[in-house]
């Protein structure tokens, strides 16, 4: 069991994404996504989880404190909201439609990438995770 958004959790995400996602599965995508967590527990108000792809290959996975690096898509929301999505208690679509999550980036491109995002989320969800 790894702690959500810890360096160990980030390393595990990177390992599993590299194993589970081929460039073909990722449509040879070059893009990046940054989840920006607000109202985090444990005394740090903001955290991030960044993943970047280049030609379909996982290029970079990062977790840390603060707002995170600039990405093509940024999704901002409360830690609790992301945690609920990770625990499958809340759908990401519903969170976006209700405004609990805010997406920043080209919406038309985001629509094209929705299924790829699901593939990433499914792999991340396989990691035994401890939430605060």
């Amino acid at each position: 069991m790894t702690k959500y958004l810890s360096p160990e959790w980030g390393a595990e995400v990177e390992k599993r994404l590299r194993e589970g996602l081929t460039p073909e599965k990722m449509n040879n995508l070059t893009s990046s996504m940054n989840n920006h967590y607000t109202n985090c527990p444990g005394g740090v108000s903001e955290k991030y989880f960044y993943v970047g792809f280049s030609d379909g290959k996982v290029e970079r996975v990062e977790v840390g404190e603060g707002t995170g690096p600039k990405a093509e898509f940024t999704i901002k929301g409360d830690y609790d909201t992301f945690a609920k999505i990770s625990r499958a208690e809340l759908g990401s679509q519903k969170a976006l439609m209700s405004g609990k999550l805010k997406l920043r980036g080209n919406m038309v491109k985001a629509l094209k990438l929705a299924s790829l995002c699901d593939r990433i989320n499914k792999i991340v969800a396989t990691i035994p995770t401890e939430f605060e």
Partner: protein, 404 residues
Amino acid sequence: MDMKKDPYFIDFPARIKAIQAEMAKEGIDVYLGSRLRTMSWTTDAFFPWRSFIVIPAEGLPTAFTFVIDAARAADDSWLDEDHVLGFAPMGGQDQISQITYMIEDLIPSGGVVGVEAGMSNYLPEGNLTWYEYNAFTEALPNCKLVNAHHIIDKLSVIKDEGTINRFREASRIVDIGHKAVYDAIKDGGWKGVTETEIAGIAALAMRKAGSVWEWSFTGGNEIACGYRTGLTGGACTPATAKELKAGEPLMVDIHALFKLACGDHSHNYLIAPASDRQVWHAKNFTDIVDLTLKTYRAGISPSALAEEMMAFAEERGFADFMVPGFEHGIGMLGDEWRIGGHEGPFVYWTDPNHVYQEGEVLICAMQYACPDEDIGFRYENPILIKKDGCEWMSKYPLTVDIIE
């Protein structure tokens, strides 16, 4: 092919730079356009949904529209998909949030944002709404919103060659529509035909000839027969299921759209038998249209022209039947109403004292209406103002045809 040799070429990047130059003169950091005419004039694409364009002080503009249509709009536009963005009811993706993000990125410390606010008697104008104004004001506390639509209004008055050629082609297409209507109704073909069928016959012919649709927010092609041609002030007649009848007039006002330029021409008929009185009305009408077309030139104004034409009608004894207006504005799609700027005695209406300049395009639009006799005629034709006259773009013969 060298795009600049295309007769319909418009230098859109140059238009954006011209707007940016005016913004700089007025101290405007970002221009937030929302009117349909602005979308057309800056993007070369049709934006049927609520849309906006953000024009920075330098560089390319970005258009925003409903996400279901953004990819299509980008495909039609000269802008790429990174400069035509779609908004949707999602966190951070609604129109206020998206545009706010962009303006914050462009002017992080705040500044002056030019918006388009005002009034129009034209429903699809697209001025910023009260709600939108307040939402942007709240979302951009370091920005001052100022009205700036006059920048684009002034820049778009004189038409460039590509735009003029688009109007010429749209007018050529309209003439084909008129020919199709004539062929369909002549020799008794009119019997049992309705106004809506006439609209459809013209539409099919025009689409075959290159029109994309029958632009006019008044319902496509405007057809009237019988008493509907003579309704007082009746210069707007969406087609109905009314059937053509012997002894009645028929007014065919059809619209083509070619590369966002509107063909708009009205032709008139009398379904036989035509009485002497009907023929007298028809002759009055064609004579005043002929005189009007010969009178338009640079240097005159709508009010001066109206005075001259109404004096002619008075002299000939038909002034009671003339609607004393002889034109409406025209530009790329969405610019379909007033002439000149918005500083006339009645703001946002045609300025009666606007002085026509070479290179302006307007619709010569005249209505002859005699409701007591159930007869009326309409003339519309895009005209290009020249130094000593005008070019009427639809070449369809100026007659009132009697159809047997």
